[in-house]
Structures are given as C-alpha cells and as structure tokens.
C-alpha cells in the first residue's frame, strides 16, 4: 500500500481515537500526579492543594538516594542479564525449524500470562529450604543439607529476569529473523568460527535493536515492586516498593507522587543519554 501525506483535515481522523485515549489515560493522570506532588501533606488526614517543595525536599536525602541508586542498578542488571541470555537464544531460535520456533514462542508467550504474584510465590517456593531446588541437589549428593536461597539479591534478580525474558525475546525475534543469513555465511567462508561470526557480525549488525531492547527491559524492570518484596530483604526493596508504601499504607499521596515524578525524570534522563550516546557513536 502506498503511503501518502495527509491532505485534508479529515485525513487525520484515524488519529482522533488513539490521541483521545492517550490524553485520557496517560496525559491527564500524569499531569494530575505532577500537580499532586506539589500539594501539602497533612499527616493526620490527606492533603490540601498547594504549591510546596517539601515532598521533593524529603526525597533529597542520602537514604532515598541509596534506594534510587539500588533500583537503577537492579534494573540495569536485569536488562543486561536478559539481553545476554536472549540474544544468543533468539539467534539460535531464528535458525531453528519452523515447528520448534512456534513451540518455543508459545511457551514464552504463556509465561506472559502469569501474574507477578504467581511468579513471585513460585520462585519463593523453589528457593525455599523446605521444598526448594536445593533438596534436589541434596538428593544427587551435591549438598549435605537443603538451604534457603531466598531472601537474597540473587533470588530477586532471577525472578525479575524470568519475568522480563519473554518480552526480550519477542522484541529481538523479528530483527533476528530478518537478519540476512548471507552475512554470517560470508563470515564463515572467510574462515570465522560460528562463535566469532556471531560476535563480529550478528551482534554489531543488531546494535540498535540490542540498545532498544536494553532500554525496554530496563524500564520494565524499574516498575517492578512485588518481586523485591517477596524475594528480597528490606535492603533490596526498590523505590517502587517505597512509593507503594507511601501511597497505599501511609496515604501520603504528595510524597508518593513526588517520588514517582522523580523516578520518571531519572528514567527519561538515562534513556535520553543512551539514545544520544548511540547517535554519537553512529556518527563517528
């Protein structure tokens, strides 16, 4: 089908619905959140409309700085783990038989139907001392006695990677399927090993896709608030956990909103920086 620039005002018609949805369900709530973040908190009740900075001031402390730092670190780690696992996997998958591909994709899609709660509880059972995977290791004689693997940073990381991996594969899959097979064939005929051709040809060819995937998983992981609670110790709680606490348990909407706005700004800043760095790298 031919693409044409819109000629008349009515040509923009199809945009009305998505634009309306975007305004109703994103722009308006987000603007409300920004407004609330400047409201005055009343500790014995709710909040009153005002324009104060105290919610932001409270956030600017070493304690919240550390929590924010940890949240970003966790999200980046999850993103890297996912991409490191998913790129080779998806590459092999895209070279596999059609039937195998379909089976794997269906299996991965079915993970998406699991809620965060189910994933959290399932992993907490798998990591438990009484019923967990270490019992299997005891059975085959690797360990002397079963141990508890949660709460720990590793448990949080594993569950979050598990949750984000299907998205990663689904984002990478189209790009890898479209990748010209003659590229790797050329590399092979010139004497590169399969592994070498993967790293020197496939990965560089997919650079933009990989960066985009990293950003997507990073943002996805940043919003995670249940898994750190279920599988981590308090020092592994992310900023999202503290936002939930303030909003739901302390009914401190202004402070929760201020933290959320801050988190969004930091995220946008980091994403902007990555994209900017990517452009520069391309230009060079």
């Amino acid at each position: 089908m031919r693409r044409e620039a819109p000629q008349k005002l009515t040509d923009y018609g199809p945009l009305v619905f998505p634009a309306g949805m975007l305004i109703t369900f994103f722009v308006v709530p987000f603007a409300t959140m920004i407004a609330v973040s400047f409201f005055k908190r009343n500790p014995s009740g709710f909040y009153t409309p005002d324009f104060v900075f105290e919610n932001y001031e409270r956030f600017l402390s070493l304690f919240f700085g550390k929590v924010l730092g940890f949240s970003l670190f966790l999200a980046v780690t999850v993103a890297i783990c996912c991409v490191v696992l998913a790129v080779p996997f998806t590459y092999l998958l895209s070279r596999a038989k059609r039937r195998t591909q379909v089976l794997w994709l269906v299996a991965l899609l079915s993970i998406l139907s699991l809620s965060e709660v189910i994933i959290g509880f399932a992993w907490s059972t798998l990591f438990s001392r009484t019923a967990g995977i270490t019992n299997l290791l005891v059975m085959i004689g690797i360990l002397d006695q079963p141990v508890a693997l949660n709460p720990s940073f590793g448990a949080v990381l594993t569950a979050m990677t598990y949750q984000a991996l299907p998205y990663t594969v689904l984002v990478l899959y189209p790009a890898l399927v479209r990748l010209d097979p003659t590229l790797t064939e050329a590399a092979r005929t010139l004497g590169a090993s399969p592994i070498k051709s993967f790293f020197t040809v496939v990965v560089p060819a997919l650079r933009n896709t990989i960066v985009a995937t990293l950003i997507m998983v990073f943002i996805f992981a940043l919003g995670c608030y249940l898994l750190p609670q279920i599988l981590g110790r308090p020092q592994h709680w992310t900023l999202s956990v503290l936002i939930t606490d303030q909003a739901i348990y302390q009914s401190n909407m202004p402070f929760a909103a201020a933290m959320a706005v801050f988190l969004v700004l930091v995220t946008l800043g980091l994403v902007g920086l990555t994209v900017y760095a990517g452009r520069k790298g391309e230009a060079a």
């Binding site: 199809p14 009305v16 500790p43 304690f63 907490s124 609670q229 348990y249 009914s251």
Partner: protein, 362 residues
C-alpha cells in the same frame, strides 16, 4: 488510502463505547433508587465471605434491610477512596469497617457522620474504648470486631511454646522470624516498649521513641521476612520455613484446627489488640438504616456469633456474652493486651514511617 473510509466506523464505535460507558456510570443511580438497602464495606476475602454467610442474611431477615456487601482493601486505600468519593458527594459504601488509624484520619476531615447513641441502645453493651469519639465528644464509630496479633510458632520447630515477646530478641532465633513490614500495622514499637521499657507510655516522647527504635533494631538479624502480604508469611509458618513471628491469633487458630503444625501464644506481656469500627460516611443518605445495622451488630448474641464463626474477639463486655471459657480463649485472653498507640500514627506518622523504613532497610 482506503483506511480513511473506516473513520466513520471507528467514530461510531467511539460513540457506542461512550453510551455504554455512560450507562455503566449511571448504574449506581439505578441501585440507589431501591428502598431499604445498605452498602456495607468489610475487608475482602475470608472476612467478607464469613459476614455474607453468617451475619448479613439474618440481618436482612430481621430488619428487611437488604445488605450489599462491598469488599474493601486493607490498609488505608479504602479510606482514600471514601474520602475522594465523599468530596464528590458519593458513598461507595454507607457503613464501612475501618481501622483505628483510619478512624482518626477520617475524623480530621469530618468524613464520619456523627452517630446518635440514642438510636443505638445496644451501644451500652460495648467496652468503653470501643466507642470512637471526635475530640468534642460526638460519636464517630462503634467497635465492630477486635482481633489479636500474637506470637506464633511452628510446633515442629519449637516444641515448647515461647512465653514472652523477648523471644524475638533471642540470638538463638537468628533468621527465623517473620514480622509485619510497616510501623503502623506491626505495632512492634508498642511491643518493644511493653517488653523492655515498662509500658507503651514510654513512647510519649521522641526520646522514648528513639530508644524503642534502637532496641527494636537489635531484632533485625533475627528477621528473615518483613511481610506486607499475610499469605506470604502464613505459608512459610506452616511449612516451618520461617518458624516464628507475629501473626493474627484468629487465623492461626483456624490453621491449627485444620491440623497445621502452628500455634498462637499470648505472651506474658499481652497480645496486640487491634480493632475495627463501623463508621458511616458523611456522603451516605442511609442514616436510619446505618443506625439499625450498627445497633444489630452490637448485640451480645451477634458478637458471640462472630467469635464462633469468624474468630474475632468481641467488642462487648465479657459478662454479657454466653461464650464458654474455651470459646473465649479461642479468640481472646484475660492477659492485659497491648493496645496500640494509634495517636502516634496520626500526629507523628511521617516521622515514624521515615525512622522505621531507615531502620529496617538501612
């Protein structure tokens, strides 16, 4: 190009969706037109199911008032919803079961319609501290049910029941405890004050609070799980994964009855007694029905029924109840309870929350 032709269709779809949406929004108005009914908010899940089955049906039979029960979330989310709705003149529920902290917070914005005790003759059955009052003496809420948070243990791991809250501090229990994650629902500062500083009056001053925080921080190495979600701890307690902690006396009793290896102990310092009040939203127009409902719920026989069927502690005086000693022990105790310092969670809420979060996550 041809896509443009579809515009009309999608516009019509938008209109259709709009009409459907508008009629959905109008639904509550249709429901409101019905006479003699009352929307009652109770905690969702087990609580709501028990109330629906054991209480509300009989109430409708006796008074002719239909009850529509609304599942409310725990925590303060429901308070926020009621408050926002009341500002718009709406009441998602007429009468709601509210926690003590929520009662105090609602008082500050006059969210609760004052109740007329003359229309609630059974109110005189209540233990005094279960009548929640505005500072000027108007009645804001009437005690609905009470419950205890006690020291619970897995019987396979702990053959002997602990006798004191000081077990939480015992170095032998390293990495074995499950405690509630929030200052305002764990009431551990009160437990610390009662166990180590002679009573909750020790929390009157900021200095006393800091001392309690310092003492409580010594518990941290023993804590495996700080839980917000009850199911998370309950499962681990039953399996022995986390063999000790604080938990609800009623639910633990039910689990023990089901044959699970768990027990609930009232420590010698007392269990933590928390309670919920019936409160009427100021936006509700069902004032008469609400008074009838609250009066009905305050009868000794209904409180006894709640103790037997739902496992809550009664809010009416012990001598009015026909509960046997055994039935009473299943839901309550004669040991003087630890009553939470609810006032602190409104006057010093943010300060306490900040110190608490820094203590456990720091």
């Amino acid at each position: 190009m041809r896509d443009i032709l579809k515009t009309n269709v999608s516009r019509r779809a938008v209109l259709g969706a709009g009409v459907a949406g508008a009629s959905l929004l109008a639904m509550p108005a249709v429901l409101r037109a019905q006479d003699k009914s009352l929307k009652v908010g109770v905690y969702g899940g087990y609580f709501k199911d028990s109330f629906d089955k054991n209480i509300f049906a009989d109430f409708t039979k006796e008074t002719g008032i239909a009850v529509e029960s609304v599942a409310e979330p725990t925590g303060e989310a429901w308070l926020v919803q009621l408050e926002q709705a009341a500002k718009a003149g709406q009441a998602p529920a007429d009468v709601s079961m509210m926690s003590q902290v929520a009662m105090l917070k609602g008082q500050s914005t006059e969210l609760w319609a004052p109740l007329d005790l003359a229309k609630i003759p059974n109110g005189s059955n209540l233990i005094d501290h279960f009548v929640n009052k505005y500072p000027d003496g108007r009645v804001a809420g009437i005690g609905a049910v009470a419950w205890y948070i006690t020291l619970v243990t897995n019987t396979d791991v702990f053959k002997e029941a602990p006798t004191s809250w000081s077990a939480l501090w015992d170095p032998a229990n390293a990495d074995k405890l499950g405690l509630l994650a929030l200052v305002s629902n764990s009431f551990l500062l009160e437990v610390t004050a009662k166990t180590h500083f002679g009573g909750t009056n020790a929390l009157d001053t900021e200095e006393g609070l800091l001392k309690a925080f310092e003492k409580l921080a010594e518990v941290k190495p023993n804590v495996r799980l700080w839980y917000r979600d009850e199911a998370q701890f309950e499962q681990s307690l039953k399996s022995g994964e986390i063999p000790m902690g604080q938990y609800y006396h009623d639910v633990t009793g039910l689990a023990a009855k089901d044959g699970q290896p768990v027990r609930s102990t009232f420590p010698k310092e007392g269990g933590i007694m928390d309670s919920g009040c019936w409160a009427l939203s100021r936006a509700s127009s069902k004032v008469e029905e609400a008074h009838t409902f609250i009066n009905y719920m305050s009868q000794p026989k209904i409180q006894a029924l709640l103790s037997r069927k739902v496992g809550t502690a009664p809010t009416v005086k012990r001598d009015l109840l026909d509960l046997t000693a055994e039935e009473f022990a299943a839901v309550s105790s004669d040991i003087d309870p630890i009553i939470p310092r609810y006032d602190l969670y409104t006057t010093k809420a943010d300060w306490l929350n900040q110190k608490w979060t820094e203590m456990i996550a720091g």
